[in-house]
Assembly symmetry: C2
DNA sequence: TAATATGGTGTTAAAAATACAATAAGTCTT
DNA sequence: AAGACTTATTGTATTTTTAACACCATATTA
């Protein structure tokens, strides 16, 4: 094999850390591998990139096949390419994370075929390949990004309470001390892109909270006035 | 060709945005392409990744071949993989940036063979491939990173004046208003990891400035006490 | 020695971050 | 129906951080 040919004895894949938020916990969607290598192990959903497919498109495809969801927040994080990361050859992988509203998740043929499962981020361990490391990178990115861009809303239903929003931040950031309720509300409301719906929570055994939604137009105005999201 | 084979008709490269700081300006090192495609155009230095070479190693190799420098700051930024980004086939590229002390730069056989040149970042335009976009990503990353980690020092000689340091920040950040001299000094010195050398500038036609150096141990202490670099 | 150039230094006012606790509005139990 | 229970909602005082701002010092060169 010539040297030039040997450059083409390689492939690339995408792997996707799919985040969801449910029951107060940050979760990711894992699949159990049905074939070697790492048969039976839990892994991040991923696939080889098709020869004429863009990278972002490949990540979106993996996501859609597994969840049925399109047009979700998707962000490239880092590329992992250690020579020996894949037992069967030189395969580098481009890691993405995506944020979905877990309530929209439905079981698809793909997720049915390869058993898949939502797992609390804090419980994940011992994934196939270098996926533990990939998860760590994506989680670190999410922690940073969620403080500097209005990403949290991608994980919540369209209408949510401020307590739910705060819980989300608490579980993503996982800080030694929870955020202060009054200060959190003051700050997030002062940015002016959360609007009150004329609705309250239902079916809770206590005082129902007001529902809010994220107003993207008002967020754009906020940016145009030179402010930056910072939490 | 089988479908599986077609996955292996692809290659990956690294491209490196090599930043230097000289004469008050932020610069990058470009090479002029000697062969098609884009023959004669200016481009970021890069190369295909060898079959048994890690990605970071490939980026370091490209850098060393061009500059003779080892052990420089190197950071992966983003992977570019549009289907048609390379005219000759499917080549995705992993973009890195590196920070070098431009005074250490020497012409190497590689940089001699392919004409190379330092160019002010603000003057760069119309690079080969998607390199304009790659540069934009790396520059954005540098702007962010330089405020949250002590990277600036990688671009300066071991001993520098506070004015030089501020000039560096001014030219990297390129803000509408320059930083305030007194506030800048107060803040950077208060972090406690810059130490005065017992030396002053020489050969300047005005009052010579004190020289400082970055003390990495003190920086580690600073971190261990729970502080974070923030400028 | 005067002109010129950059180095070096402190204070004050404004804004932002933090710490902190009592009342309100529902449901559930008895 | 009263009381217990649970979470929602709201404001103030303190501390910390940021931002704005101007003059004298020290060297070289003409």
């Amino acid at each position: 094999m010539s040297e030039v040919e040997s450059f083409f004895k390689s492939a690339f894949s995408v792997d996707n850390v799919i985040f969801g938020f449910d029951g107060g916990d940050l979760k990711i969607l894992l699949i159990q591998r049905g074939a070697a290598p790492y048969k039976g192990k839990w892994a991040l959903p991923g696939d080889l990139v098709y020869p004429n497919e863009d990278l972002d498109a490949a990540a979106a495809r993996v996501l859609e096949q597994l969840t049925g969801l399109k047009e979700v927040y998707l962000e490239q994080v880092k590329t992992f390419g250690s020579v020996n990361r894949h037992p069967l050859g030189r395969v580098i992988t481009i890691a993405y994370f995506s944020l979905i509203k877990i309530s929209n998740y439905t079981v698809t043929p793909a997720s049915f075929a390869q058993s898949s499962q939502w797992v609390n981020v804090s419980d994940v361990e011992d994934l196939a390949f270098d996926h533990d490391e990939i998860l760590a990178s994506c989680l670190a990115r999410l922690k940073r990004k969620v403080r500097t861009a209005p990403l949290g809303f991608e994980l919540l239903p369209p209408k949510f309470t401020l307590s739910e929003l705060q819980q989300l931040y608490d579980s993503v950031l996982n800080l030694p001390k929870k955020l202060d309720k009054r200060n959190f509300r003051k700050k997030i409301l002062s940015m002016g892109f959360l609007v009150e719906c004329d609705e309250v929570q239902e079916g809770v055994a206590h005082r129902p909270a007001k529902l809010y939604s994220f107003d993207r137009e008002k967020y754009e105005e906020f940016l145009n006035e030179g402010y930056v999201f910072d939490l």
